[in-house]
């Protein structure tokens, strides 16, 4: 039995908020609280979708476009991201660059919307977001290029399909470096601790949250759902390099879902154990991830 073609995007659409729920639950557990129910992110999004939207008088339609375009890019990105054991819904040569491009487009829309509100705090957040994105993007591209070089394939579906136990034996150092790089990117791209705190509400220190301060109602729902989707996508990129295809498709699906759950718990533990970096040291952290990717690529060239 082969899993249906659309398993990867549909599973992401359904399970991404649960991923956020597991992270929040883990953080609460470590802090000694019971925490919100696992389904809380779904309820939040549902609640926000019921509400009406309020827009500032000085804003242009860009503010309305931002969250919609961001969510649209992420849902499009879901199509090319393969799920271990199920493959990707759509696969074509160079779709890894499309993935990075879609991320950039979504970010661009969010930043434009933030700037359009005219709030100085949001401008600050937008500036930081672009600064860190400029450093994180090469890291992601080089990491994906490294995987392409290891497997000799040029589309995400084939790349992730070709990572086997044998490639781990042959290129253990490079794959491990790429894995760590993806873990850092998961935290950076999604504005998690230690880069940004998704729960903070002190404008001076925020990055992503400050950009979306002026959004409410369905727009905020789209943004929160988009955050969950992006967490899921980068998480799949990380979990996917663990070789699961060799053990059979049915088993690989379950193992990958377990892997995602473990990743969510791991992120929760990281967020509980670490403090945020000072803003000036965040670029070092991201450049570190880019370095790991670059070293992985070089190790292969040698």
């Amino acid at each position: 039995m082969t899993p249906p073609h659309l398993f990867a995007p549909v599973s992401a659409l359904l399970l991404a908020p649960l991923f956020v729920g597991v992270i929040n639950r883990t953080k609460a557990f470590v802090a000694g609280r019971r925490g919100p129910p696992l389904a809380q992110p779904y309820r939040d999004v549902w609640k926000l979708l019921q509400r009406g939207a309020v827009y500032g008088e000085i804003t242009t339609p860009l503010v309305r476009l931002g969250p919609v375009l961001n969510l649209a890019t992420l849902i499009t990105a879901l199509l090319v991201v393969p799920f271990p054991g199920a493959g990707a819904a759509v696969s074509f040569t160079g779709d890894l660059i499309v993935l990075v491009g879609l991320f950039a487009l979504g970010r661009f829309a969010t930043v434009l919307a933030a700037l359009d509100t005219g709030s100085s705090f949001e401008g600050m957040g937008a500036s930081r977001e672009m600064h860190f994105a400029a450093l994180a993007e090469p890291a992601l591209l080089i990491a994906l290029a490294t995987l392409a070089r290891i497997t000799g394939a040029t589309d995400l579906g084939s790349i992730y399909g070709a990572i086997t136990t044998a490639s781990w034996v042959h290129d253990a150092a490079a794959l491990a470096l790429v894995g760590v790089s993806f873990l850092v990117l998961e935290l950076v791209e999604n504005s998690r601790i230690p880069v940004d705190d998704p729960t903070t509400h002190l404008e001076l220190t925020m990055i992503h949250e400050v950009m979306v301060l002026d959004h409410g109602g369905p727009d905020l729902g789209f943004i929160q759902y988009g955050v969950a989707l992006k967490l899921w996508i980068v998480g799949i990129l990380l979990v996917g390099i663990i070789p699961l295809y060799g053990v059979g498709a049915e088993f690989a699906l379950g193992a990958a879902l377990l892997g995602m759950a473990a990743l969510a718990v791991a992120i929760g533990m990281i967020e509980s154990a670490m403090a945020r970096y000072r803003l000036v040291t965040v670029p070092q952290f991201i450049v570190g991830a880019a370095t790991l990717s670059a070293v992985a690529f070089m190790v292969l060239l040698v």
Partner: protein
Amino acid sequence: MSAMPALLALIHAVGLLTCFALLGTSRIGACIRFLSVQGMLFSLVPIIAHDDGFTLRVLLLAGANICLKGVIFPAVLLHLRARAGFHREVEPFVGFVASILFGIAALVVSLALARELHPALSHAPFVMLQAAIFLIAIGLFLIVSRRNALIQIVGYLVIENGIFVLGAITVVETPLLVELGILLDAFVAVFVMGIAVFHISREFGMADVDRLNTLRG
């Protein structure tokens, strides 16, 4: 022998990462520990790179290296750091992010250089040739880009590591006496530099070598 290339590749990857760690951290204690790990790793190269691996000569050389670079140098430097009482490189001439970017550039250049050199030294493992050039470049960079005298000593020892690797892989039969002589030189150099750093820090209250410009003869 099939495990040897994989082992060399592992040493290569971890060794490169220690270099980047050296470039990216401001804490002197951490720098010294990274240097210790790097020294011990690359000390293993002569054992692995030579086909006739476990001869007494090679084992002695690696053992002496591990003792010196892994234990004695770091101990001396950590002691010096404690005596002088400074713990961070505060204002390097080149910032930490820029340093890491330089490291990536150096990685590319060392790769190109190693490609050029490899035909002339075809018996040497390519990974280690590249690592040696990279280590020398990073060591030099640490010396010119940091103000703190202790980090400059660390840079000197990184160069030493690079030269050691280059020697270990290119020259098949170096007399043991020469190798140990070089080690002794490095040993004495670290002590002399240590004494100099101690005097600098006692004179100025810090090990900022830029301050030496204020001295007049």
